[in-house]
């Protein structure tokens, strides 16, 4: 089947031009001045924004943790339902994800607003109005709402492969329901936990929409910072590239750490 290799040529050319070269350009821009000379100033300037990095990582971590805690029981419940009902239930849970991301975030904008429905309802029972929108809490809420399905799906797909008899075997060997959870289900769903965490953490740490729509001016995140350097008033693609590069390195580091927890030798039956 050697002759078939030729078929991948058009894609390989495309891949080099539009995937490899752009990434190299990011690196090149990060290490050059606008007249093309080598510099490390861009990278060291990223240090000025350390507080934004810390804030982004912090909010993304909280959102990821909340997603994990909320999704775990959902995925478990789904995976233990009767097989023919699982598909429909999964569809119901995943359906909101098919709405455009901007519209879902916009929905929370109208809900959380000072004149929004939540404050209106609270007002009816004599509470508030509270400042809900333009807070860190609103940003975390937006992240959780938007990325929850990204956590549920990988968790569900590993848990669904856990044979019912393995759970019964654990009970047979003396596990109460809590021990079944921590000695069997959690270790077996580890690959799902790892991929769920990455799938939530990566978009959460790099978003600029959620912070812009729900966070107000005080919740600038890494994504906003990058966007401002390319399309905003602060136009400086070299600094922007440097920030993007640092972001990639952070994500790569976190993913490397996460992969340590995922046993590759483990084949689920």
């Amino acid at each position: 089947m050697k002759q078939l290799r030729v078929l991948s040529l058009p894609y390989l050319v495309w891949m080099v031009i539009f995937i490899v070269v752009p990434i190299i350009m990011v690196a090149v821009f990060a290490f050059t001045t606008s007249d093309g000379n080598f510099t490390i100033d861009n990278i060291s300037n990223v240090g000025q924004y350390a507080n934004i990095f810390v804030h982004s990582i912090w909010l993304a971590l909280i959102a990821t943790a909340i997603c994990l805690v909320l999704s775990y029981p959902v995925a478990f419940y789904l995976s233990r339902m009767e097989k023919h009902k699982q598909g429909t239930m999964l569809m119901i849970v995943m359906l909101p994800m098919w709405m455009n991301f901007l519209l879902r975030t916009y929905a929370w904008m109208t809900l959380l607003g000072n004149n929004g429905i939540i404050n209106y309802l609270l007002g009816l029972i004599g509470l508030g109005p509270f400042k809900l929108i333009n807070t860190s809490g609103a940003v975390v809420l937006g992240m959780v709402y938007n990325y929850l399905p990204f956590m549920i799906l990988p968790l569900y797909s590993v848990m669904q492969k856990i044979d019912k008899s393995v759970i019964e075997a654990a009970r047979d060997l003396g596990c109460n329901p809590v021990k079944v959870m921590f000695r069997v289900i959690v270790p077996l769903s580890l690959p799902g936990i790892v991929s769920g965490i990455t799938m939530v953490f990566v978009p959460a740490i790099s978003t600029f929409i959620i912070s812009r729509m729900l966070g107000g001016g005080s919740n600038l995140l890494i994504g906003d910072l990058i966007e401002m350097q390319f399309l905003g008033n602060a136009y400086d693609p070299h600094l922007g590239a440097a920030i993007a590069l640092v972001l990639m390195v952070i994500i790569l580091a976190i993913m490397t750490v996460m992969n340590q927890f995922s046993p590759d030798d483990q084949v689920l039956i």
């Binding site: 089947m1 078939l4 290799r5 030729v6 078929l7 991948s8 058009p10 894609y11 390989l12 495309w14 891949m15 539009f18 995937i19 752009p22 990434i23 350009m25 990011v26 959902v74 419940y77 023919h84 598909g87 569809m91 849970v93 359906l95 909101p96 098919w98 709405m99 455009n100 991301f101 901007l102 519209l103 879902r104 975030t105 916009y106 929905a107 109208t110 809900l111 004149n115 429905i117 404050n119 309802l121 709402y145 329901p177 990566v202 978009p203 740490i205 790099s206 978003t207 600029f208 929409i209 729509m213 990058i226 966007e227 390319f230 399309l231 693609p237 922007g240 993007a244 972001l247 990639m248």
Partner: protein, 269 residues
Amino acid sequence: MKRLGKIYMALIIFFLYVPIFVLIVFSFNESKSRSVFSGFTLEWYERLFNNSIIMSSLVNTLIIAVIASIISTILGTLAAIGINSMRKVPKSIVMNVTNIPVINPEIVTGVSLMLLFVFFAARMNMEFGFVTLVIAHITFDVPYVILNIMPKFKQMDPHLFEAAQDLGCSPFTAFRKVILPEIMPGIISGFLMAFTYSLDDFVISYFTCGATSQTLPITIYSMTRRKISPEINALSTLIFVVVVVILIAKNIIENRQAKKNAVYKGGRA
């Protein structure tokens, strides 16, 4: 225990759907209020259909999604076949590069392509717009096509191709009659995935569209940046209805398929 699970699922589903339903309800609201329903109207729908910016960006989005997903399906299918017949090392290099747009934060893919286009635009007198958008969409679509097809090769008997040739097929006929049908489900799901990602994409389009060409998500974004416009609610409602109809249809088809398979298996047992 079981009841607790049901209550929990109900709460999660409530959390996922309430924002969308509030949008839907207020799309029929006479006033612009986001909290008080003052009376029923279809005015926002009328305005939506008369809004030439929204309508033209919708058409634009569809055209781009169709072109990008068709080209990326062709490119990706050929690529997958080629990659599959590569030796181990080049194969894993190509697959790792292919994974970059999938794993990388969208904003990084967006700005990296933007840097490339800026670089070429300056030298080739090219403008940002339709062409850059299509290129960007193909770039993030192809990996999904490839990732959908590759597992089909793994499930396939490696001797099929040889068996077909042994039975008198030329390599081309063998490919068309044996391999293509085997990987067809992967091609179709890859195409559908590419199409929906294209329709839905905001971040990458945002960095690569320039000022002249707009997609629907970009129009939605600029609407949310301006004053309150209940047209967005109307648009959300319509999108939600379309999504529900498509997913229910998909679910019904899949259930039928599953039942057919079940009968087949039952017959053999």
